[in-house]
């Protein structure tokens, strides 16, 4: 099993949107895929059409000693996903992060134990904080997709995180520029800097700004259902193809 961690450089860069669409694109390319939400905001599920009022997810199951596998769902498109779920209090989150700190390899071990085809790809919506949740995902990851919006702070944060992971000999980390609009000068300049100064850690696939994405989420769908001919659908198909190739490279180098 391969694990891809999708991590936002700063809040709102679009990691959840990318994780949901990458998982769906891989599924549509007939790859066995599992989407896993480690973010306490619990939003990944909405892209897959889950009810707003359904609070199910693995976090509460884990705290209450229940089997978290029962928190897995399947979207109308056929994508299997595990939501984070709704925790009832801050105290519950503290208990969860405390437990995860004491069991640093928990997620990696759980994925290894799943009876799934060996070529299954798990796409994780990875939070920046709390660190205990983030570290669970990064410890299992074969590839980190670092989502960068075309703004200055996101660029600074993404390039810094990529350098830090490289220095720490962490998993292969690639920056994905998300929400790019070529009619905006700052977007073009950020793109130039990424392509010139950080070429080795930049995904060649750019996700363009596309109103279809916001509208699709408002309709509880991905763009593959809502607007299959959109630029976003094209971009995510390309991103999934590139991700598969990249995971293949990682396997060769391992």
């Amino acid at each position: 099993m391969k694990v891809v961690a999708v991590l936002s450089a700063i809040g709102g860069a679009g990691a959840t949107t990318i994780a949901a669409h990458l998982a769906t694109a891989l599924h549509l390319q007939k790859r066995q895929t599992l989407a896993f939400d480690f973010c306490t905001e619990n939003l990944l599920r909405l892209h897959f059409g889950m009810s707003w009022n359904d609070n199910g997810g693995f976090a509460a199951d884990l705290l209450q000693g229940r089997d978290w596998h029962k928190s897995a769902y399947r979207s109308a498109t056929g994508v299997d996903f595990v939501p984070f779920g709704q925790l009832t209090s801050e105290e519950s989150l503290d208990r969860l992060t405390g437990w995860l700190k004491e069991h640093p390899g928990w997620f990696r071990n759980q994925l290894s134990a799943i009876q799934a085809p060996h070529d299954t790809i798990t796409i994780c919506d990875c939070p920046r904080m709390p660190a205990a949740l983030r570290e669970q995902v990064l410890a299992a990851a074969d590839l980190i997709l670092l989502v960068c919006s075309p703004d200055t702070v996101s660029y600074a944060s993404a390039t810094r995180i990529a350098a830090e992971v490289r220095m720490a000999h962490g998993p292969s980390t690639m920056i994905v520029l998300n929400g790019f609009d070529s009619s905006r000068r700052l977007d073009r300049d950020i793109s130039v800097l990424l392509r010139t100064q950080h070429k080795a850690s930049l995904s060649p696939v750019v996700v363009h700004r596309d109103e279809s994405l916001r509208e699709a989420l408002a309709c509880k769908q991905t763009v593959f259902d809502f607007a299959p001919s959109s630029q976003a659908a094209y971009d995510f198909s390309a991103l999934s193809t590139w991700t598969l190739a990249r995971l293949g490279q990682e396997e060769v180098h391992a």
């Binding site: 073009r188 300049d189 950020i190 800097l193 010139t196």
Partner: protein, 75 residues
């Protein structure tokens, strides 16, 4: 009727950009170097348009808008 004399062609002179390119990469037969120089110039231009980007890239800070520690202003 008086004929307008044709405009005299200016002798060829290398523009500043060409001159700077020669100074950048010297041996014009090395195309890879040329591409690298062009990319580097594009990156510097991109960063210099935005003071925060320029700071991040280590190209320079705008002293006019730099902050100073509050303690330094205490009387």
């Amino acid at each position: 009727m008086a004929q307008h004399a044709p405009k005299q062609q200016a002798p060829y002179a290398a523009g500043n950009d060409v001159t700077s390119l020669f100074s950048h990469f010297g041996d014009y037969s090395r195309r890879a170097t040329y591409h690298e120089v062009v990319r580097q110039d594009a990156a510097i231009n991109a960063a210099c348009r935005w003071p925060l980007l320029a700071e991040i890239e280590g190209i320079g800070a705008d002293p006019a808008i730099a902050t100073i520690p509050a303690a330094a202003t205490a009387k």
